[in-house]
């Protein structure tokens, strides 16, 4: 079921780098800019019927990257996808009502402004971005959803 709409507030304390890092550490599935931009795209288009190529074109990343991000989101229970391999296009439905929904909404709030998005991208840069425990968190997510 689609998530409740968010009214984005002005920039505030939440955009501070340390806050961002803590948030990313909790979310864990947002590993890089592609993940972030894909999440933003899916938030604006919570129910999409598109091919991976089309999503890649809309978001502006290589198809391989997009495919990886989609798989991560699906495994984390953030995204649902129709199972119909005969169709090139799949229906994707963003689900932000899970346990981590509040954190995703906070991240989306931050990413809705230019400074906020830059702070997040900075925090995601290689060498800084991978919050400690990311891999462990991802394993936990997979285990909890019975997919790992």
């Amino acid at each position: 079921m689609p998530s409740e709409r968010i009214i984005f507030p002005p920039i505030n304390e939440r955009d501070r780098p340390e806050e961002i890092k803590l948030l990313l550490a909790r979310i864990s599935v947002i590993r890089n800019g592609c993940d972030l931009d894909l999440l933003l795209f899916l938030y604006r288009h919570p129910r999409t019927l598109l091919t991976n190529e089309q999503i890649a074109a809309f978001v502006g990343y290589e198809m391989k990257q997009i495919a990886q991000s989609l798989e991560i989101f699906i495994e984390a229970g953030l995204l649902a996808r129709t199972q119909n391999p005969t169709h090139a296009a799949r229906m994707y439905l963003l689900e932000l009502n899970g346990p981590a929904g509040g954190d995703y909404k906070k991240l989306l709030e931050s990413a809705s402004t230019r400074p906020g998005r830059r702070s997040i991208l900075e925090a995601l840069r290689p060498g800084r971005s991978a919050p400690e425990g990311h891999a462990q968190n991802l394993r936990l997510v997979k285990r909890a959803s019975g997919r790992g």
């Binding site: 079921m1 604006r44 919570p46 019927l49 229906m91």
Partner: protein, 510 residues
């Protein structure tokens, strides 16, 4: 068949020109140039279905992002997010290529999504480019495939297609029109630097509908409001309803006038008070509505010339306290600025006011302002006035219309360019009469349908703090027979001093 066979659009006014809605299963094509309101209409069609008629729906968009669509809809008072949460609406973002392929497959993911919520309506925004839009056989076939896919799922589909050639008065047929069951054209019409929106039902299979270009507006917090073309024939009952009650009259409120007009105006009658500016027409109108209030009858005064506060101040100068009557809900004053008046919307407003307030007396001040804004030469004004008269008669309202006649002294015609005196039951002419060094006020009942009328010019006066009254005749006037005059038909009568045979005509005192 247990379900109704018409789909109500729920769009205010649209189900009146498409009586009862659109036959279920019809493929509705909404065409128009950019900014004409196609997306708004499509979204409202689905929103009303899901929120009012228990018909869940799907909205398919290609260019507009769903979050913007929801934001814009919220501005019109439609909470699409709530409907999504309730499982009564799905907004799907896709591309035309994908949709085309989807609808050609029996196991369409899109239609499967529609079935999951029991969708009965679908809106697809921007199908023109989906099917090519070049009028070729191929594009028609693509459109045909699209409609077949939708009908297979028993969806009533509203498809928006961009047709830039349809603005203004241009008219061009799109190839999709022949396949669609219902075709609705939206236009932005340019009229003397003003822009207005119009809607036209070009065709609708399986039903009768009101033809011609109707007006519509997109109202914040409400959505689309369609105003039926004022010229469109109303229900026959409206014209038949003028029950010709030969006894009930309403007092004019002018001392001395009721005696001249046999006790007052008949209910359901139409009266025009004509005279130059300043002659006392508005004072008469104020006394007319004040008299109604005194008798406990509701009165509505619609002014295009003066704002409400100004009318109240004017009333106070002739001893009428309108504020007190307004508080008692016996009088309602309405002011509408005449600039860029849109006749269909304006008539709708009056109609709604009359239905809601239920006045027995209505004053419209003034017809000449309508004339100067709508033009007196074409049919628009005449048809508007005709509809107004029919509305008032149906409701058995005594309606008084003030009309500014430009002639200061004397009158060559009763209603000038308006040429509508045949629609009017009573005509009261107000004239300045120059006697000595002053203008005196004269009133002549020029026409009073179904009443004997003497057509004598009576003197009137307006007294500060008291208003207008008609003065009694002080002396009996001796009348002369026609034979006492020459050149009567030539409109320059002269008194004869001698009759044709040299005798002074009968009745002459000379």
């Amino acid at each position: 068949m247990t379900e109704p066979n018409r789909v109500k659009t729920g769009i205010a006014g649209l189900d009146d020109i498409l009586p009862g809605g659109i036959p279920r299963g019809n493929v509705i094509l909404v065409e128009g140039a950019i900014g004409t309101g196609k997306t708004t209409m499509g979204v409202e069609f689905v929103y009303r279905g899901a929120s009012q008629f228990d018909e869940p729906g799907i909205i398919v968009v290609f260019e507009v992002s769903p979050d913007k669509l929801m934001r814009d809809a919220l501005g019109l008072g439609w909470d699409l997010a709530k409907l999504e949460q309730q499982g009564r609406l799905k907004i799907v973002f896709t591309t035309r290529d994908v949709l085309r392929q989807e609808l050609q497959q029996a196991d369409s993911v899109l239609l499967d999504e529609a079935a999951k919520i029991g969708a009965r309506r679908i809106f697809i925004d921007g199908v023109g480019r989906l099917v090519g839009g070049n009028g070729s056989l191929e594009s028609r076939s693509a459109f045909h495939v699209l409609t077949e896919g939708l009908q297979r799922e028993n969806l009533t589909a509203l498809l928006a297609v961009e047709a830039s050639s349809l603005n203004g008065n241009a008219s061009a047929s799109l190839p999709e029109e022949s396949i669609a069951d219902t075709v609705i054209r939206l236009r932005m019409e340019d009229s003397q630097r003003a822009i207005s929106r119009s809607i036209e039902i070009v065709k609708s299979r399986g039903q009768d509908f009101q033809m011609g270009r109707h007006s519509f507006r997109i109202l914040d917090g409400k959505g689309i409001q369609v105003y039926r073309r004022v010229q469109a024939p109303r229900k026959p009952s409206r014209d038949r309803a003028a029950a010709f009650d030969p006894t009930t009259r309403l007092s004019s409120g002018i001392p001395g006038l009721d005696g001249i007009i046999n006790g007052g105006y008949f209910v359901g009658s139409t009266t025009v008070v004509a005279g130059i500016s300043g002659v006392g027409k508005s004072v008469m109108a104020l006394q007319f509505i004040a008299e109604g209030a005194r008798r406990g009858e509701r009165s509505l005064m619609l002014s295009l010339d003066e704002q409400v506060e100004q009318i109240m101040r004017n009333a106070a100068t002739v001893g009428i306290d309108l504020q007190a009557e307004i508080k008692k809900d016996l009088i309602r004053l309405e002011y509408e600025p005449p600039q860029e008046i849109e006749v269909d919307a304006h008539f709708h407003h009056i109609e709604e006011l009359v239905k809601e307030f239920k006045p027995k007396r209505v004053v419209i001040d003034s017809l000449s302002t309508y004339g100067s804004n709508l033009g007196t030469k074409g049919r628009v004004f005449r048809d508007f006035f005709h509809a107004l008269v029919a509305l008032m008669k149906e409701r058995q309202i005594v309606a008084v219309y003030n009309h500014e006649n430009p002639e200061m002294l004397g009158m060559n015609s009763m209603m000038g360019d308006f040429a509508m005196s045949s629609l009017v039951d009573n005509i009261v002419l107000m004239n300045w009469i120059e006697l000595g060094d002053s203008f005196r006020l004269g009133m002549t009942i020029a026409k009073m349908r179904a009443n004997p009328v003497d057509r004598v010019t009576h003197e009137c006066e307006v007294i500060n703090g008291h208003g207008m009254r008609v003065l009694p005749r002080a002396l009996p006037v001796r009348t002369q027979p026609f034979s006492a005059y020459a050149s009567l038909v030539a409109r320059s009568p002269e008194r004869r001093t001698r009759g044709p045979e040299g005798a002074i005509p009968d009745g002459s005192s000379e």
